[in-house]
Symmetry: C2
Subunit: 225 residues, 2 copies
């Protein structure tokens, strides 16, 4: 029991230190009238590809910056940088999630006058990032439907804490055993208010709905701010 | 820096306490002449489905037990139990990986005279489980090829530490942009000796090679033991 108890206490301490910095980050985003979102999903859910496909649709109305979180490599930032938007890679060096301090360290490197949407792509992990507030306005889940319709009920914490979920790789629906109704029902049972988008980054379906929603969210944030 | 340093020290403490119990578990498996493997992969990589499809092929020659690790729900254990083999579910209650202590607690519930292969399915996570020795003989990765060919280089730690990788969902290869040669080259660059199996749990391809290899591993373990 001793070791278990100690682990929980340390977690509580880390979270509270993380939460304090998250509030500082949140105030920074608010001051700069920039909506920040924290994009979370398993490895290979399609987070980076969703950004690549969304940026051209967002660029007409918004000025977007990106923070790329990864354990190792700058592959994701390299992919985003061709879109000629400001992007910084954070490598956690083995760590399984971004935390608010890592994010705070890169914030001074952006020109905040020129941004109204900051997309933070977290490390590929459906578990640990759910517990770490980065100071974002809200979390967005990217879930590949190929992962299976049981994922929402098996990973409920992240679904409870997110404002939207992008169900990606819809082009593969017919080739898998996934039951989309079960999946969506389970998501709504956990979080009735969550926005659900069915998207294929491969054939482009659903991307317009997702990017329009995100654009409206930026406008609503700026009106309230 | 203070918080970062503290986190690393705590991790080292947890790991060493985990490692001690892992050695106790390993001695237990050795004493009972039972090969234990630690199966690791992202959510939806197909770990449980691989077990479901492998068990009928393993049952002729081996006596298999299963430990199912999950954050919440007993869905995976329910799926395995229909195969009439001993299975126990460990719910981590939010924790992102199994540890050796969790495993040790369920070991007394098995009839060890009747087992020669214990399959431990870890929590769906390609990051954290890599750092926690459960006392297994070796780790096996299950990777859905739909996750993309960049995953080995982005998650090298687990590929470095595993004896085999099952590349699953091969039936979807033609429908994705995955480059199988790149993926396999990257895996071998990280771990030249790793055994690679290309499998489709959906159409059954590659399952025989994987289960034959695993059966041979059990026999080799028992000869050395």
């Amino acid at each position: 029991m001793g070791s278990g108890r100690r682990e929980i206490e340390v977690m509580a301490n880390l979270l509270s230190s993380n939460d304090i910095q998250a509030e500082v980050n949140r105030a920074h985003f608010r001051k700069n009238n920039c909506l920040a979102i924290n994009v979370i999903g398993s490895p290979g859910a399609g987070k980076t590809t969703l950004l690549e496909k969304s940026l051209p649709l967002l660029k007409d109305e918004l000025h977007v910056g990106v923070i790329e979180g990864d354990i190792f490599t700058s592959k994701d930032a390299d992919r985003i940088s061709v879109h000629q938007i400001p992007v910084i890679q954070i490598n956690t060096g083995g760590g399984c999630h971004l935390d608010s301090k890592m994010v705070s360290k890169v914030l001074p490197q952006y020109d905040w006058k020129a941004l109204n949407l900051m997309i933070i792509e977290n490390v590929g992990n459906l578990v640990c990032p759910a517990d770490f507030d980065l100071g974002e306005a809200f979390k967005v889940i990217v879930l590949s439907i190929v992962e299976g319709d049981d994922k929402p009920s098996k990973y409920p914490v992240i679904f409870r804490n997110a404002k939207a979920v992008v169900l990606n790789k819809m082009d593969l629906e017919k080739l898998t055993d996934v039951n989309m109704e079960t999946m969506k029902q389970d998501i709504r049972a956990i979080n009735p208010g969550i926005a659900i988008f069915e998207v294929s980054c491969r054939n482009g379906s659903g991307l317009k709905e997702w990017t329009s929603w995100l654009t409206q969210e930026v406008k609503a944030y700026q009106r309230i701010n």
